[in-house]
Amino acid sequence: MKAHLTRRYRFSASHRLHSAEMTEGENVATYGKCNNPHGHGHNYALEVTISGSVDASTGMVCNLVDLDGFVESEILARYHLSNLNTLKEFSAEVPTTENLSIRIYEILQRGFRYAHLEGVKLEETMMNSFEYYGGQQSASRG
């Protein structure tokens, strides 16, 4: 029987929203306070949802040790206490939470082999969250 399992993680990072394709004025108009050249930070909450058949011998869709281990080494180690703008994936892309949720989805999609990836949800603050389920290159604002 197929079940969906969701695990929640936390990390903190800083970023600045600034597009090289816009003028200074456009950047300020578009990103407001988030365009502050010194950057600012968030405590992000990440939810990873996987799915699969419940293994009759373990009662599990996937061993949490494997999911936690992957997220810890491939996602949290990369993003926790980082400045997102300094990372390779954001050298030419604005580190909005939309784009970050897509990057995190791609890391899982590429490397996580223990269960099917359904999607990711990334909360930037308690008021803003973003979900990405693959497919189209856009995350939905929630």
Binding site: A3, L5, T6, R7, R8, V54, S57, T58, G59, M60
Partner: protein
């Protein structure tokens, strides 16, 4: 179609053990959860039903009836219990959050009168939950 979700909380203990595995395998696969004395969680259950809104009552489902069924079928059986020893499903299955969500679904699916069960979500902790949508 409108979806309605009712929450409930229950506290229970459990441990993970498969008698077909060797003691070493049980410890390797289940880690700390293999302690036979058990450990506990405060579970949160979310039951989502779906249906059309009744034009006379304005309800998808009589919430009182849903609440009673949840209490009778799930909470009375599982709240403040040792799942492995006191809940029949878990005499033979491992009481993981996955199996708990499936067991709750099976207990509720046939007992609801009007609305259809859409999803059972069981939180083991605020950082871990399982969704079950029935057999697909």
């Amino acid at each position: 179609m409108v979806y309605l979700t009712r929450k409930a909380e229950f506290s229970a203990s459990h441990y993970y053990h498969n008698p077909d595995f060797s003691p070493e395998e049980n410890r390797r696969i289940f880690g700390k959860c293999n302690n036979p004395n058990g450990h506990g969680h405060n579970y949160t259950l979310e039951v989502t039903v779906k249906g059309e809104v009744d034009p006379r009552s304005g309800f998808v489902v009589d919430l009182k009836q849903l609440k009673e069924v949840m209490h009778r079928e799930v909470l009375d059986a599982m709240d403040h219990r040792f799942l492995n020893k006191e809940v029949p499903e878990f005499l033979t299955q491992i009481p993981t959050t996955e199996n708990l969500a499936i067991a709750v679904w099976q207990r509720l699916a046939t007992k609801l009168q009007k609305a259809r069960l859409h999803r059972v979500r069981v939180y083991e902790t605020p950082d871990l939950f399982v969704d079950f949508y029935g057999e697909e």
